[in-house]
Amino acid sequence: MNLVQAINDALKLEMKRDPRVVVLGEDVGRVGGVFRVTQGLWDEFGDDRVVDTPLSEGGILGTAIGMALYGLVPVPEIQFADFIFPGYDQIVSELAKMRWRSGGEYSAKMVVRTPVGGGIRGGLYHSQSPESLFIHVAGLKVVCPANPYDAKGLLLASLRDPDPVLFFEPKRIYRASRGDVPEGDYTVELGKAKIVREAEAAPGKPAVTILAWGAMLYEAVAAAEKALELGVECEIVDLRTLWPVDVETIAASVEKTGRVIVVHEAPKTCGFGAELVALINERCFLSLEAPPVRVAGFDTPFPYTLEMDYLPLAHRILPAIVETARY
């Protein structure tokens, strides 16, 4: 299965299991979504539960919050994360704060699904990675899977979690990422990172921890392969849930290696890497052998023509690994 099929499978499974789950968004019904993630759901579940909406993210998210208050579990799809901003107020001011401002009386349980990231020749409005803008808002959980197994398990866990979840789908690997996915029901626990490649530091043999998620995980792996040829081992942590982040797994790895690189597509300044580095400094200061490094998108808008120069691909990660290892 690829990532698209795994997410589709999770939605189908949960819609069968839980009649409260409703999918809504632009062209999610008959068309099956701009990336066909919701294909077949409308045929199976009909107009009431798979709704083609007007082109208005504020309307989609605002009405979804009302549905959630009433007791449904809406799964709004925003066609591209870049287009979430007309609905940002409803997410930040309403969705995230509903439980808190009502003293726990109300909650607005939903999973907002949206594709993120570049590398598909989408240009500046179909390529962005705005995760830090949601991590910064108290009350939201933020998830980003990197493979089909995790995508299905994390989506099922997100749908059953009591809090609102922003579910970012790395569109560059929607079809490129393939893997075995169990047919039935399973969940991948939120808030748990996964070590996808282990490393041991030894005297004279430095190792580097790399934190990554989504499509950039594969770039980190590719860079780690090259680094191994140069005698540097890398331990790679796939964060999977960005918030609340699994700081224990991160700290354990950094305490082991003493060196850390964060990779993300979003611009470097105030990107999630900044928070990760701060958390590492707070937790692991005395274990650090080198300054933490961020390999990220530039502090510019996302370019159309030069997107492969903008993205923190393996060729940009490798020099950072070498520098960090030799610091």
Partner: protein
Amino acid sequence: MQQTTPDPSQPPGPSGSDDLVRAARDGGVDAAFRPALDAGEALHRHMVRARVVSARMVALQRSERVGFHHASLGEEAAIAGAVLAMRATDWVFPGAREWYATLARGLPLDAYVHHAFGSASDPAKGHAAPDHAPARALHVVPPSGVVGAHLPQAVGAAWAAKIRRDDVAALALFGAEVAAGGDFHNALNFAGVFKVPVVFACRAPADARVVDRAVAYGLAGARVDGGDALAVFTVVKAALERAIAGEGATLVELVSPVLERLADGALTDAALVSSEVLDLGAADPLTRLRAALGREKRVEPGAHEVIAEEARAELDAAVSAAERAGAPSPATIFDHVYAGVPAHLAAERERLAGAQRNGG
């Protein structure tokens, strides 16, 4: 109820144009509005209470005992009339100035006052500013601080009820300023497209003509004298009946009265806590309803004084209870951010407690 088609070659009708719905006819109540008389006593009681409470809260705000208050003097017919027209099973989404909706539904006055003081007994746990009280058991969603954000949510709740085949509608209360924003458009557009059982009740100045927007979204519309409780009740009830019959949403514009006593200048501190606030001039919705019900022998003369006295006594007790209760414990800042308390919040809570132990 039917909105007349506007003539695009003409400017919108001026204040007082003849589409304004009123219950009065020849010094009595028009036959179409007489059923509302059965709700007259309840309307009267709630409107007097809303007036007394708002006047007291204005006074408490002036003396800086509460942070602020969204005064609703003169809006009582619009708010109580619309809320009482709905059934107890319908959902209500007030804006902050329609805070009385929660009380009209049955939130005890002392809970509202605890909330206004953000006390340890505030149902919102001191998290939200005054006039944003929740009442989930009464199907009232607490107002947002973002003006108009609740409109698409009201549509979503009513839409969810329709999806579930529940016999439930929603009422959204708001002021005309909301019509300038995107949430208004989103709400009316989605309500029109999906034929959602929702009633939009918009308080508006006489020259706003928000109702004209109904045509663009395929909604029914009506423009009502917002100082006429019997008219508001009757029209909102008709809109509710359309909604539950599957005929879709209605935009009801409630034209706010201009109160002579408020237009002349602010009420004195002494007036705010006395019976003076019960009659703010001929346009006062309380005065008008009292007169109409008096003619119909539906309320005893002086009933308003009795209701007001009772409310003032409840307020006295509630205010001193709220002041006695004090603030919630600092640890409660971290409650209800999420369903549980994640590790990073538990750590912050622990650090805050440590700072307090150390006399910080």
